[in-house]
Symmetry: C2
Subunit: 179 residues, 2 copies
């Protein structure tokens, strides 16, 4: 029963994840992404890959988990700051995180599983926001799911277009639509 993780494993997994992310951000054709290419980029042996991952989907899944953990961390901070009184403040920090990592998220959002996870986070944000409005007697007149789906659509488009608006400006547009 080893208490600490072998630093070699930690390093290797980090190198593979970084390799995947860098290839994704270069808009490397996803259908042509091979274990070979990833191993080359990571400067590790191809066989080493199989010591840690079943296949590329497995690596992808673990990488997604890591990225979303980071997103959660970012969001956690924002719900404690001064703006947290406004219902839409969490949306701003959500968008800011996407803005900072636009190249990555743009491609990652093509992944169905990733989209589902992001949708769940958005639904959380919308529900929080909805409760805030309910408190003020200004409930949404559509289900939270539809609001969340709508926001996800807008965010996808925003990334696809190269983030043409700032996170706060985009938030205004989104909020505007729910007046």
């Amino acid at each position: 029963m080893s208490r600490k993780i072998d630093p070699r494993i930690k390093r290797t997994k980090r190198l593979f994840k970084d390799a995947l992310i860098s290839l994704i951000q270069e808009n490397y054709d996803k259908s042509k992404l091979t274990v070979q290419t990833i191993a080359e980029r990571a400067e590790l042996n191809r066989a080493t890959f199989y010591l840690h991952y079943r296949d590329i989907d497995d690596l992808m899944e673990q990488t997604i988990n890591e990225i979303l953990e980071e997103l959660h961390e970012t969001m956690k901070g924002s719900s404690e700051d001064a703006h947290s009184q406004k219902g839409s403040s969490r949306l701003v920090s959500f968008l800011e995180h996407f803005y900072r990592n636009a190249g990555l998220y743009k491609v990652m959002l093509e992944n169905k599983e990733f989209r589902k996870r992001v949708f769940a986070i958005l639904l959380d944000i919308v529900t929080y926001w909805s409760d805030y409005r309910k408190m003020k007697g200004r409930s949404f007149n559509v289900p939270n799911e539809i609001v969340a789906a709508s926001v996800l659509g807008i965010v996808s488009w925003w990334l696809e277009e190269g983030t043409p608006y700032s996170p706060t400006y985009l938030t205004n547009f989104i909020v505007e639509r729910f007046k």
Copy 2:
């Protein structure tokens, strides 16, 4: 200069497209979709595939074109019917077409190119709708692109959830958000 298309070509291409669509609708893992499998399903020889298509993406592209032509045909009809006075009537016939072919569209919308094309159609609908509202002095307060992206997000979610609302009911939700 042959005036008519050889019926064998027509038949072969139809068989390949039908095979692709049936595999897609069975939710066949897209990353595992091979020319072999498609040819087997079409009950044609694998080499025949290469007489008509460069690769699977090529077949996909041609299939997408065919499906979207059908969508355009459906929409064309609706802009001439009695409801065409209302700005949102085209949206209803759009959603009805998606409702009828939900299994197919649900998966097809994962394709980036397909999504782009559907977005363009939605932008068209929204622009038409927006002009109608402008005429009545009730302009949207957000860019048409954002409205279209929002609707695309809602439609994707709606298909993903197994079309929980009827096309007209969903239209009400969407329209509701722009009062």
